[in-house]
């Protein structure tokens, strides 16, 4: 993650930081050229900033600015002589590390024989001047796509490795910039050899690699002097101002899941009415990597050169097979592009495919703004607490933070809810479904689900089933206990947006789902029908009775209760929880299910849900295992390929596969 702390100490020290005046830019270009490199930098061409070969700083823009909004781009005249007083233009460095067309190989037919001869890359040594933070991030994305898998693009790798990178901190931003949302900028923090921050008459110069250091100590030594504190502070302040100008980041937490849950959103068809599938966005994008190979045949038709050229998932023929195209409609192609960039790219490459440079917004001829579309199709869930994962506190085995009991509530004869406060603020920011390791000296620490997040603490609902839990239940207001956490993963509530949600729980299994229900009730209209099926042992064992009545009466949640056994005075249902819905009227195809209870009950529930048409990838269960460390170090909670504490406790049935419910795992 990028940090926003531009004023932290090492950023404002002057040690090892240099000043290069504007004329010194020529020394830089000359030094790079003398090193045998082709120097690429910004130039003005056809009314735009275009990255192209430069021989002197005079080839670069001076006093040029830009205005960018969705679908429009214009260069302006600045009233200063700045060389980097604009943001990114239509070209990206992709053009140089992953050229629009390269020759791959030649093939010949000679009688019955065929011959192929690869055309090996002959990389020029390159130097890039003026690489922005989002563009460095784009190199990172391309590296993962083209140079990290089991198969690598040797041509890309060679070009990329040869390039010397002179980064530029952004001291200006346009309306299309959203690097802050993607966590890629505006601060350049790594991935460069030298970095410039433009000041009124020159540049603050930072060194980022041994190659950069060599330049500073050698050919550039005469052109630079140590930077003054004022220069260092001005540079930092200008970049901070850029961040402020870009404004609030988009709520991207859970975007992957939010987006992939919306494959049937009607908005796709609406966008397609505007999108002309020209593919400009993919060409301008610094990370789009799709290509096609074309054969250039010689005159006699026996030899051919294979060329690889950029292609676009917006091309009509891109997904064509003999029987037709898999994505024949524009809406399919737009959905493919957007869900890949912000969704499935994560699954394939562990990162988003977007770096927030805004090119696709500016260069879309009809002005489609991805930010707007994303927020319309996959809007954030206004959940309290925030669904972003917080760093746990007291994350090592032996460390606990202390919290105080400020209220206790007897839920049933053997179950108590403790309201805790004074713990680290991380706890109240935990995610729905997380747990805490709870310790009272003298007893083994135990994992306890967080049953509510409050402004300054959490609630734990504990059933006194053994010595440690009984000691916890016996705590009084004012008593303290030790906590580590919040730990584990969370219920994927993002995936439930726009779907029906079925919650099936038994016994104390309702506790980890209670925060989910609170969150749902707070943002009820974002979800389809919500049904809670809860089974308890006897009527006296029902948890959160009054709250449940409120969920039903005011929360818009269907609540169905049953108990395993009851006396004649009980007029509610008796029977197992699956009987509450095995013959119900609703359709499971659009539903997602959260299940928590004893494992045997979850199995029966999962079978019944599957029988009702809920797919296994949308049935989530929480597993309970013996836990000691809670952080994947002690091995106690291992289950198949998972540590339940670290990878769970929430899993989809699909993830668990046939290990779920199997004896002896």
């Amino acid at each position: 993650m990028m940090t926003t702390e531009i004023t932290r100490p090492e950023r404002t020290t002057t040690a090892g930081r240099w000043y290069l005046d504007r004329a010194g830019l020529d020394d830089l270009v000359a030094a790079l050229a003398a090193d045998g490199r082709t120097v690429i930098g910004p130039t003005v061409a056809d009314g735009a900033i275009v990255y192209d070969e430069i021989r002197a700083s005079a080839d670069m823009p001076h006093g040029v600015g830009d205005v960018q909004v969705a679908g429009r781009y214009r260069l302006t005249k600045r009233d200063d002589a700045r060389v980097f007083g604009y943001v990114v233009g239509p070209t990206s460095w992709k053009r140089w590390v992953f050229p629009p067309t390269i020759e791959l190989n030649t093939g010949r037919r000679a009688g019955h024989r065929v011959e192929f001869a690869p055309i090996r890359p002959r990389p020029e040594r390159l130097a890039f001047i003026g690489v922005r933070a989002c563009e460095i991030a784009a190199f990172g994305v391309q590296d993962r796509v083209l140079d990290a898998g089991p198969f690598r693009d040797a041509d890309y790798a060679a070009r990329r490795a040869s390039a010397f990178i002179v980064a530029v901190q952004c001291t200006t931003a346009e309306t299309t910039c959203f690097c802050t949302s993607m966590g890629t900028g505006p601060e350049v923090e790594s991935g460069f050899d030298l970095a410039l921050t433009e000041l009124d008459e020159g540049f603050l110069l930072d060194v980022g690699s041994p190659a950069g250091q060599q330049l500073v100590e050698g050919p550039l030594a005469k052109a630079i002097r140590p930077a003054t504190p004022v220069e260092v502070y001005t540079a930092a302040a200008d970049v901070a101002a850029t961040r402020a100008r870009i404004g609030d980041p988009l709520p991207t937490a859970g975007l992957h899941d939010r987006l992939l849950a919306q494959l049937d959103n009607p908005r796709w068809a609406q966008i397609a009415e505007r999108c002309i599938t020209c593919g400009n966005c993919t060409l301008a994008c610094p990370t789009c990597f799709c290509t096609s190979v074309v054969q250039k045949t010689d005159m006699e038709g026996i030899g051919a050169t294979n060329e690889r050229s950029w292609d676009s998932c917006f091309s009509p023929g891109f997904a064509r097979v003999a029987g037709g195209s898999f994505r024949s409609r524009p809406r399919d192609r737009y959905r493919q592009w957007l869900t890949h960039k912000f969704g499935t790219w994560w699954d394939q490459f562990g990162t988003a495919g977007c770096v927030g440079c805004g090119r696709c917004i500016t260069w879309c001829p009809v002005g489609i703004d991805v930010r707007e579309e994303l927020m319309a199709i996959a809007p954030p869930i206004a959940l309290s607490p925030e669904p972003t994962r917080v760093e746990p506190v007291a994350a090592s085995f032996d460390d606990f933070v202390v919290a105080q009991v400020v209220a206790t509530r007897l839920e049933t004869a053997d179950t108590v809810t403790l309201t805790l406060s004074g713990a680290d603020p991380a706890f109240s920011k935990g995610s729905l479904g997380q747990f805490a390791m709870v310790s009272i000296p003298g007893f083994p620490p135990l994992p306890i689900s967080i049953s509510r997040f409050t402004v300054d603490g959490i609630e734990l609902t504990i059933r006194g089933a053994g010595p440690a839990t009984r000691a916890m239940c016996a705590l009084k207001v004012g008593d303290q206990l030790g906590l580590r956490g919040p730990l584990g993963n969370n219920w994927p509530i993002d995936r439930a947006v726009g779907r029906d949600l079925v919650i099936v729980t038994g016994g104390i299994g309702l506790a980890p789902l209670r925060p989910v229900i609170h969150a749902l009730a707070a943002d009820r209209r974002r979800f389809g029908d919500v049904r809670l099926y809860y089974g308890a042992r006897t009527p006296a064992d029902i948890l959160y009775r009054e709250e449940m009545e409120r969920w039903a009466s005011r929360g818009g949640i269907e609540v169905h209760l049953t108990v395993d056994r009851a006396g004649p005075e009980w007029e509610g249902r008796v029977g197992v929880v699956t009987q509450l819905f095995d013959q119900a009227q609703w359709e499971g195809a659009n539903a997602i299910a959260f299940v928590c209870g004893p494992e045997r009950m979850m199995q029966a529930t999962a079978n019944t849900l599957a029988g009702r048409g809920v797919t296994t990838s949308r049935i989530y269960v929480t597993l309970e295992r013996h836990m000691e460390c809670g952080i994947g170090l002690c091995g106690h909670c291992q289950m198949g390929r998972f540590f339940v504490c670290r990878d769970g406790p929430v899993f989809s049935l699909e993830q668990l596969g046939d290990t779920f419910g199997r004896e002896g795992i």
């Binding site: 089933a465 004649p568 007029e571 249902r573 029977g575 045997r600």
Partner: protein, 160 residues
């Protein structure tokens, strides 16, 4: 005998009775009657001869059994679509639990003896009805097993 059309409609509205072939529906409707019972009506007593079979159309009833030292215990509640009194078609035709309405209940009711004769003499009716009875009974059996495990007695904390 009640109104045949109303009876067919009532049966059709339940999972147990919906989708039966028309001739089976008519046959059942001819044999059945629609009854309503106020809360607290005991329709069948554990151990006694079971003379009627019913399909719940609306409301809820409890199946209870007497447990020494614990008194009457409700072991299951049944709801629309569920059947009660199926012991009337299985020897020895004695109730396995006491059936009491805990809400006002509407039910289609059949005389056990008449239904037994119909099932014996009308293979077509038997062919469509027995699988449904089997589903209803096995569903109850599966649930009872889970209940028997008393899962919530030792859940969640592993006894620590």
């Amino acid at each position: 005998m009640g109104d045949t059309a109303a009876l067919v409609a009532a049966l059709n509205a339940t999972w147990f009775g919906s989708g039966l072939p028309p001739d089976a529906q008519t046959r059942l409707a001819d044999m059945g009657r629609l009854e309503t019972y106020p809360t607290g009506t005991e329709l069948l007593t554990e151990g006694e001869v079971c003379e009627e079979v019913g399909v719940v159309i609306a409301g809820r009833m409890a199946l209870r059994t007497l447990v020494p030292e614990r008194g009457m215990v409700t072991i299951l509640t049944i709801e629309p679509g569920d059947i009660w009194g199926w012991s009337a078609i299985v020897p020895p035709y004695r109730g396995t639990s006491t059936v009491v309405t805990i809400e006002p209940v509407t039910s289609v009711v059949f005389e056990g003896a008449a239904l037994r004769i119909a099932l014996r003499e009308d293979p077509h009716l038997a062919q469509v009805l027995y699988p449904r009875i089997l589903v209803a009974v096995s569903r109850r059996l599966a649930a009872s097993r889970l209940q028997l495990l008393d899962l919530f007695a030792r859940d969640a904390t592993g006894g620590s």
